[in-house]
């Protein structure tokens, strides 16, 4: 039976996470005071179906918590309780807690019961107070409250034990190597905002664990008493010991996104100091409070955790009747939750308003490949059809035309399967902005437009982190505090605008704020003091903006407390570049900034210009092309008898003859017989000499390296309509090769 159910686990988790996203969005849109009943209903349904699923699969803690949540939501739904700001905050917290629980259950890790018990208690309190407030018999209402209070006590005692269990688990797997490999001693002191900013220490640790043996010891000295814990703050610091020969860069990379939100010291402990790990561990023991006697046998921890939900569950059982008795007759008939009823929610989840199926990416890619093949075959048939004579030829050709049309539609639909609306990435922002604004005491309104703009799933996944970073920067450094804004004559509420749109075969994502903008004089002063810019150099705005992308520049600003952007901007730009995109800045002091990210729609297709040289066809990516022109013989100059240059908009550009570079017999050798394609790569421009331009088309990029290997100056290959292969040029590589050849000659 267990085995049978296990195969449904992953879809339960996926559906639940999706449902939680929906619940979060609905909560954010919930008007305090006058909630839309349909919205409350949809929130209720999420809790209900998660509870049902969790009950069916035996995830008791999840089921228990959602039961409490459902009880509260039922009160709200029936209108017996009003939605207050506090309640909606708590409900949002519940979403986080459920996400965390489901993630832990999914990874088969112990659930952090402290947060859960804490919040569950709060929810019960709200229900109890609400029930008491609506003239219900006082006795049943207080009973569950005390029961809950009693239950939270053991939970409180066990919870801290559950937390170090994570650390100890890692310690158990990673420790005691005792070998002579080099070590890294890392002190990771997270600022309280670490979690709020979307950083996950566990993720950092697991990426470190990939580098070598990792020992993690958590120091919980700063953890306050349970009642005063803010679930969103991070109270822990960690001492990590990484046994690995890896480079400093690799260790740094793990903390890349978190670096701003923590104090980090990374020290290299030389090889041979094998006593290091044991030396680190006891130190932590001394620091840690009573509970943390670290090497709690790992096996013991889950038991403790298991004990907690039971007691909590016992407490939860009582509020339900309390709610029922408090309500009037018709309400009692309304869905009084039955934990055993597992099938009904499953059905509800299946029959939701989005009807979709899950398909693995491999299957889709296979489909895309096959369709690509079909297109080529169809092109070959059309070619043949044109050569046919006779009475049936006309019919044959009209059939082929229809085939071609259908083919094109098929190809477009298949490509669209991989595309997802950018709202998948945008959806995390309302919550983040709300929380950060609250934390920083700023008033911020988030506007989002173009959420339905579609782009490739791979691109979508990779653009998330950079966007989070930019939005965070806008809120943190861009938008001023309300009083400052009022003084500057602006509305106290700052606006952060996220916008996505198609722009000529690309996606442009813009993050715009009406904050203070970049302070160019300060950036410049900083750069001068660090010797990045000469004292008397005059820089354009663009060049000044460029400075904030320099690695390390930002952190220096941060420590000197100069307000300004640029925290980790180099990472943002690198991420964007890896996707074949670019990032631009426009900013005006006092008025705000705009960050514009331009991305390709997909990584699999490139817009190209076909050029021919001799009998070969090459594809030049349109993004690299500046202009194409024909040269007159007299406009070409020779440099010291060798390199040819020509004048282009005030610059002298070298001419690179593609046929010479690639060793092909060309049709045209005289420059005026062929064409010059002015192209750029790595910021350098060249005039690429080719025989002729053929046409522009979108081509599917195929790897040369899969079966062959990397080729200098070639980014990949593609298959043309006639089934033959054309190479796609890589301008950066090409310019490098050309420069090398020129030197050699």
């Amino acid at each position: 039976m267990d085995l049978d159910l296990a195969q449904f686990h992953s879809s339960f988790f996926e559906e639940s996470f999706e449902a939680l996203d929906g619940m979060e969005a609905a909560l954010l849109g919930l008007d305090v005071g006058a909630p839309d009943p349909e919205r409350v209903n949809s929130i209720f349904r999420v809790a209900h179906s998660i509870k049902g699923g969790a009950g069916m699969f035996g995830f008791k803690d999840v089921a228990s918590f959602t039961h409490t949540l459902e009880t509260l939501l039922d009160e709200l739904r029936s209108g017996r309780m009003a939605v207050t700001r506090d309640i909606s905050d708590k409900l949002l917290l519940s979403v986080d807690v459920m996400r965390a629980m489901l993630t832990s259950v999914q990874r088969k890790e112990p659930v952090d019961m402290q947060k859960v018990a804490d919040l569950q208690f709060d929810l019960e309190m709200i229900v109890a107070q609400g029930a008491g407030g609506t003239a219900a018999p006082a006795a049943p209402a207080t009973a569950p409250a005390t029961a809950a209070a009693a239950s939270s006590a053991p939970a409180a005692a066990t919870a801290p034990a559950a937390q170090p269990a994570v650390g100890n688990g890692a310690a158990a797997t990673g420790a005691n190597g005792g070998s002579n490999a080099a070590r890294w001693a890392i002190e990771f002191r997270a600022l309280p905002e670490l979690l709020l900013r979307g950083n996950d220490p566990i993720a950092i640790f697991s990426s470190l664990a990939e580098l070598g043996k990792l020992t993690v010891v958590a120091n919980m000295q700063a953890v306050p008493r349970l009642r005063s814990i803010d679930a969103e703050r991070c109270y822990l610091t960690w001492t990590l010991d990484l046994e690995s020969d890896c480079a400093r860069d690799q260790v740094d990379a793990a903390f890349e996104w978190a670096a701003v939100d923590c104090e980090l010291t990374i020290k290299r402990v030389e090889a041979g100091a094998s006593s290091a790990p044991s030396a680190v561990a006891p130190a932590a023991v001394v620091e840690a409070p009573v509970v943390a006697a670290p090497p709690v046998p790992v096996a013991a921890a889950p038991q403790v955790v298991e004990a907690a939900p039971k007691s909590v569950e016992a407490a939860v059982a009582s509020p339900a009747p309390a709610a029922a008795s408090a309500s009037t007759a018709p309400a009692a008939a309304a869905p009084s939750p039955k934990p055993a009823d597992a099938k009904e929610p499953a059905k509800a989840a299946g029959g939701g308003e989005h009807s979709s199926i899950r398909v693995s990416i491999e299957k889709i890619d296979e489909l895309i490949n096959t369709v690509g093949e079909l297109v080529i075959t169809q092109a070959m048939l059309s070619e043949l059809g044109r050569k046919l004579d006779g009475s049936v030829a006309e019919q044959f050709r009209s059939g082929l035309n229809q085939l071609e049309r259908n083919m094109r539609e098929l190809q477009e639909s298949v490509m669209r399967v991989r595309m997802l609306p950018i709202s998948f990435t945008f959806s995390r922002f309302p919550r983040m902005v709300r929380d950060l604004a609250q934390r920083l005491g700023k008033q911020i309104e988030l506007k989002m437009t173009g959420e339905q703009t579609e782009l490739d799933k791979t691109v979508l996944e990779k653009i998330g982190d950079p966007l989070v970073h930019l939005v965070r920067n806008s809120i943190d450094h861009g938008i001023e505090a309300p009083d400052v804004r009022v003084k500057a004559g602006k509305s106290p509420t700052g606006i952060v605008h996220l916008d996505a749109c198609h722009r000529g075969g690309h996606i442009a994502v813009e993050i715009r704020d009406d904050g203070n903008g970049l302070d160019k004089s300060r950036i410049l002063a900083k750069a001068r003091s660090r010797g990045l810019v000469g004292q008397n150099d005059v820089l354009t705005d663009e060049q000044v903006h460029e400075l904030i992308f320099m690695p390390g520049f930002s952190t220096a600003e941060k420590t000197t407390d100069v307000s300004g952007r640029g925290v980790g901007m180099d990472v943002v730009r690198r991420n964007v570049k890896e996707l074949g995109g670019k990032i631009e800045i426009a900013s005006e002091l006092g008025k705000g900034s705009r960050f514009i990210i331009t991305l390709p729609l997909t990584l699999a297709i490139v817009d190209g210009q076909s050029v021919s040289v001799g009998s070969e066809t090459y594809i030049v990516p349109l993004t690299s092309i500046v202009e194409s022109l024909q040269l007159q013989p007299q406009s070409v100059n020779r440099l010291s008898g060798r390199g040819e240059v020509f004048s282009f908009r005030g610059d002298y550009l070298p001419i690179v003859r593609l046929h010479e570079l690639f060793g092909i017999e060309p049709r045209a050798t005289a420059l005026h017989e062929g064409l010059i394609v002015v192209a750029e790569g790595d910021g350098r421009r060249i005039g690429l000499f080719v025989d002729e331009l053929l046409g522009q088309q979108q081509v599917v990029i195929k790897s040369m390296e899969a079966n062959y290997g990397p080729v200098d100056g070639v980014a990949g290959a593609t298959i043309l309509g006639d089934g033959s292969v054309a190479l796609i040029l890589d301008l950066s590589g090409l310019i490098r090769v050309a420069a090398g050849t020129a030197r050699a000659a």
Partner: protein
Amino acid sequence: MTNDSIKSGLQQVLTFVLGSETYGVDILRVQEIRGWSSVTKIPHAPAHVLGVLNLRGSIVPIVDMRMQFNLERAEYTAVTVIIVLSVQSRKGKRDFGVVVDGVSDVVNVDDSQVKAAPDLGSREATEHIRGLMPVADRMVVLLDIDKLIAGQLPNTSDSEDQAPAAAAA
């Protein structure tokens, strides 16, 4: 893989003709046999790597076996054959095509029939040969295609042969 098939005793070998010699490759490695069609040249490739072809959507390099074995070049005609083989390299499975004069037969080979290649003085001359075996009245050279191709593709060798592809055509 080749070692495994040797152990198993009996295997099938696809034989092909190159000049006056007959060669054989393990039939399980053969992906496809197709007629000659013109290839797209790869810049800066070694001379015997003719270029790349589209094989059902993937880009496959084509190697001329005659040049590989220092035989005189033959014209590519409609009857010239490309055998597409898959090899195990350090970077995983790769497909590549070899141009041969013609495909002859599929023969069953018992390991006991396979004789080691005699020492010809240089290791390079024989390292890609798994053995020799008589079929009818001819000698078939069994090739170890993993070794054969290991030295051919970029990143698998440090071949300095940067002769332009144009010289090959």
